[in-house]
Symmetry: C2
Subunit: 290 residues, 2 copies
């Protein structure tokens, strides 16, 4: 087309596609380009703003490597990651929530009742629950991959003072579907703000805080993988998670328990002074294809 | 918001903005996020597709440095660069067209009639015209920054066999507004396809060709800068420029001229066998603020 105009450019773009293009590729690229074009026309994007955008993307490259995933963070703070979670959630199961950039593979297997707290200071939390199907029936042989920050708000991969797999572990359920471990109460923390994504937060007057949470990935044969987080209902950032991860059904309650009720079968290094917290939260998996 | 849903996430995103946010920043980010969210919902983007997108962006970083601007190329092949050109064009002046990634600063001043062809093989082209205002009145003291590929289809910055400023030069107009130089007929060429942008072209069955063209940046005190290209009407890729740069008013005609008509005042190393080509093209500038 030698006469490309503002009005026909999206059609010209689509007209360039080869006939053999995969239909899903065509669908995704068509929608992406149309929305990108509509965005530029709607705001009458200037050359200077376009250049700012290109410079932003080029600066993203300086903050991207095998350890740091600034584009994931960008998707997170724009709400795209959470939106993809919600689009692909089945309301019969537990909601999914952002994976975030701090999951690491190869965490050790840990037994039911394992102590992840070890020598770390902080309030003792006993987190437990059952992994079930959508009818509430326990699933045997489900695996739950657990991770959280240390009391300093850092994940092990961010913190040279932690072991590689500190506050990481994988449990496998028995016939009763139960999981459970001892840990420290998670803390609210900020996403990294030293890169270009931090600049977006600053420019739009946003804070970088996430409410405290426990991360879980739950898998079981015959069921869809569940990537999620659970949040205590008393966290001050619950209503303003900077990555939009909170869902109503992922909010749980810390119940204060007297020290002497600490159950058998749960490990704990050190003593509980007066009380500990308990978070009992069931996770519902949806069958594959559901 | 603890109950973020597919339906309210764009509003929740906007609700996070600080009150002091610059209004234009708010406008641009609001539109960008809304279109990004609508895109994801419209195509029901899957987690696997989101991961493909993140991996694509992370691979973009491997092809981005001070010399190579893969994000500019991405914007070009998606039609965004051309759309920004058109949004900001004033129809009273010559249309603007993509800058592309190969402009370099510091090109030498060259006199009217300068020979850019030198020892290179190829058909002789005499490119000339006038730089005028929208009324067609010549502009004195306008500067025209000229660049093109060598006959091998490579710009000097891509080609170790060329001098830094080969096929680059800047002319300044006199009272008659005239510019003019001798060169070789430009050739069609392909954009770089070894990076992730090349993968998009392949996946959508698109070719990487651009029609042959001459690049100009024209500046004059009191006038808006014009970044443009002109294209010969006989180029086979005129109707399928992979970066959407062609506009109807940027198409020109090569007129065949007998060798003996070659004008005084134009330099040329070597002889013209029988004929040369002439491209006479006026460039109209719009006043500043217009």
């Amino acid at each position: 087309m030698r006469n490309v105009t503002q009005d026909n450019i999206t059609d010209v773009f689509l007209g360039y596609f080869g006939k053999e293009t995969d239909p899903r590729m065509r669908e995704v690229m068509e929608s992406l380009a149309r929305h990108l074009h509509e965005f530029a026309k709607e705001v009458k994007l200037t050359h200077a703003e376009w250049q700012t955008g290109i410079a932003f993307l080029e600066r993203m490259t300086e903050f991207t490597d095998a350890e740091r995933h600034e584009f994931v963070l960008l998707s997170d703070v724009l709400g795209l990651s959470s939106l993809v979670d919600m689009i692909n959630s089945n309301p019969q199961g537990t909601s999914s929530s952002v994976l975030g950039p701090f999951h690491i593979t190869g965490a050790p297997d840990i037994p039911l009742g394992h102590d992840m707290k070890r020598h770390y200071e902080g309030e003792v939390l006993l987190a437990c629950g059952r992994i079930t199907d959508t009818e509430g029936e326990p699933i045997e042989g489900a695996k739950i991959d657990i991770w959280q920050t240390a009391p300093n708000g850092l994940y092990s991969s961010q913190d040279p003072d932690q072991d590689t797999y500190s506050f990481h572990g994988i449990q496998t359920t028995g016939a009763d579907g139960k999981y459970g471990f001892t840990t420290v109460k998670p803390v609210s923390y900020t996403v990294p703000t030293d890169g270009p994504v931090g600049d977006i937060l600053t420019a739009t007057g946003r804070h970088p805080w996430r409410p405290s949470h426990l991360h879980y990935i739950v898998t079981a044969p015959g069921y869809r993988q569940l990537v999620t987080e659970i949040f205590p209902d008393d966290d001050p950032y619950l209503d303003q998670d900077t990555v939009f991860g909170v869902r109503e059904d992922l909010v749980m309650k810390y119940v204060e328990q007297a020290a002497e009720t600490f159950p058998d079968g749960y490990e704990l290094s050190g003593n509980i002074a007066e009380q500990y917290l308990m978070a009992d939260f069931d996770l519902k998996l949806v069958e594959e294809g559901g």
